[in-house]
């Protein structure tokens, strides 16, 4: 039976909302598992066929499902502390969130990478190896297995390889000018400029500033305006997703749109659930009728301000980083 092979997991796992990936060590091969929630795809690389592995430092602002879980727990704790009017806990939770976000930004920008495995017929990315420390552990575990089968290259191996290709022969990136229709969605050849993307950034900033203003100058029709602005952000995010699928925007921009959709959905859902549950419990304990206040004070506004402005700033970073990568680098001396 096929199930008889026992695999050992190698370091690294990509945990996405829809896609996941991991690499497993078999007796004579490497198994790349790509998971699409309810289906898995497998690709095998025999140790004797692996020609090389390359790791390139590259920014990777991936939000894993584990990080998402932490964000949900944080939101639940924050809304609970707001409803119970415990400002010390709320402040500590705010501080904790700031520290976590700074750590995530630093790790994503400075300690991330792309790992690719080369055989004579394939050059595949290993999505599960996207942090540099994971890449080092991954190679420490894999290198002896390949060396046991193939031996090791010694001496002036660069001369020995000469003009042989590592990986399959394909058109070089600067030789292949793809038409827009052939381009992969999210490719770096797509434009960074788009009216829908600017619209998304504008709605994020306006929404963030509106929530900030509403903290200090509450208006009677303020919550309605907030909901309308959230609706505009949703529309803008959907437009960005449509443009992405038309191959006109980049992956980072698509991810920002998804993050905006998830953040708005999450804030509304968690707020409704937690505030409703705690207020209901309080009413039952005190045997009083309690009026539900889903906006529950300035801290809710601060959370929404923080999320919207953070997403807006991330959008600006994507815009400027995208402009920078369009310019070719000079050859180092």
């Amino acid at each position: 039976m096929a199930d008889r092979i026992h695999y050992r997991k190698l370091p690294g796992r990509y945990r996405g909302f829809l896609h996941g990936s991991s690499v497993w060590l078999g007796p004579d091969h490497l198994l790349l598992v790509k998971s699409m929630r309810f289906r898995e795809e497998y690709k095998r690389y025999q140790f004797r066929d692996i020609q090389g592995i390359a790791i390139a430092r590259h920014r990777c602002f991936h939000i894993s499902t584990r990080a998402f879980g932490i964000a949900v727990l944080w939101l639940i704790a924050v809304f609970a502390s707001i409803t119970l009017r415990n400002s010390t806990v709320s402040g500590l939770l705010g501080l904790l969130a700031c520290i976590l976000v700074v750590i995530w930004l630093y790790v994503s920008a400075k300690s991330s990478c792309v790992c690719r495995i080369y055989t004579a017929v394939s050059r595949d990315e290993l999505p599960s190896v996207y942090r540099t420390w994971v890449a080092n552990r991954f190679l420490r575990a894999l290198e002896p297995q390949i060396a046991a089968v193939q031996g090791v290259l010694e001496g002036a191996w660069t001369d020995a390889i000469g003009n042989q290709d590592v990986g399959p022969r394909e058109a070089l990136p600067h030789e292949s000018a793809q038409p827009e229709s052939d381009r992969e969605p999210g490719s770096s050849a797509a434009s960074i400029h788009s009216a829908s993307y600017y619209f998304l950034l504008a709605t994020l900033f306006v929404s963030g500033l509106w929530h900030a203003r509403a903290i200090y100058y509450p208006l009677r029709w303020g919550p309605v305006a907030s909901d309308l602005l959230a609706l505009l952000v949703l529309v803008a995010a959907i437009l960005v997703l449509v443009q992405y699928h038309r191959r006109r925007l980049r992956r980072a921009q698509q991810r920002l749109a998804i993050a905006a959709l998830v953040a708005i959905g999450l804030v509304y859902y968690v707020r409704l659930t937690v505030v409703g549950a705690i207020t209901g419990a309080r009413a039952a304990i005190e045997k009083n009728s309690v009026v539900l206040d889903y906006n529950s004070g300035p801290l809710t506004g601060k959370i929404e301000t923080g999320i919207m402005l953070l997403l807006g700033l991330a959008g600006l970073v994507i815009l400027f980083a995208g402009r920078a990568t369009n310019e070719p680098k000079s050859i180092p001396s």
């Binding site: 096929a2 598992v33 309810f38 690709k43 090791v152 191996w157 390889i161 070089l172 859902y269 180092p332």
Partner: protein, 192 residues
């Protein structure tokens, strides 16, 4: 030497690779660290299909070509093009495709449906719109029992997701029964 950049596939400069330094891609500027193995030196042997002469064994699928081996499983003669290396053995393409004999254990599957993940996700996701649990709770229990023996992921070794799906499904069914009993009791008390 054409070792490609992991990010953009542009060949990396030789000198840095020879010195085991970080190789900086001249196109995208990414810092690459490269590990090269002896397989990179191995030249792929060109396939020469020789014509079978009179009296020589010919390939089953290409009668005009000389056979170079016999399939380990079915014994058919195969030419160099048709011979599939299977560990230390040679197989014909039909036996490999049919996963006959010991090829059945060759693990050629490229995809599997994860029934245990489906069974667990349905009752959990339906909690977001909780009235749906009236269908998804019992549905998850039935689905888990029906698919209990279905093959799992190649790399997962146990069925805890099925067990969790059954428990959550049963909890949702119990919740609905309690709600119905409570509603009936209230309505009777109100009527009396």
């Amino acid at each position: 030497m054409p070792i490609p950049c992991a990010l953009c596939s542009m060949p990396l400069p030789d000198r840095a690779l020879a010195n085991d330094d970080l190789a900086i891609c001249s196109l995208c500027g990414a810092e690459n660290q490269v590990w090269v193995f002896p397989a990179a030196l191995r030249q792929a042997a060109p396939v020469h299909l020789e014509a079978a002469l009179d009296g020589e064994a010919a390939c089953f699928d290409h009668p005009g070509k000389r056979a170079v081996a016999a399939c380990r499983h079915c014994g058919r003669f195969v030419c160099q093009l048709c011979s599939v290396e299977f560990g230390a053995e040679i197989w014909c393409p039909s036996c490999v495709t049919a996963r006959a004999g010991s090829a059945a254990g060759a693990n050629l599957e490229t995809t599997r449906t994860l029934h245990d993940s489906i069974a667990l996700s349905v009752p959990l996701l339906s909690l977001v719109i909780w009235p749906l649990t009236v269908i998804t709770g019992p549905g998850a229990v039935v689905y888990s029992i029906v698919k209990w023996r279905a093959p799992l992921s190649l790399v997962r070794r146990n069925r805890w997701r099925f067990v969790a799906a059954i428990l959550i499904g049963l909890a949702e069914v119990a919740g609905w029964l309690l709600l119905i009993v409570y509603a009936l009791t209230r309505s009777r008390a109100g009527g009396g």
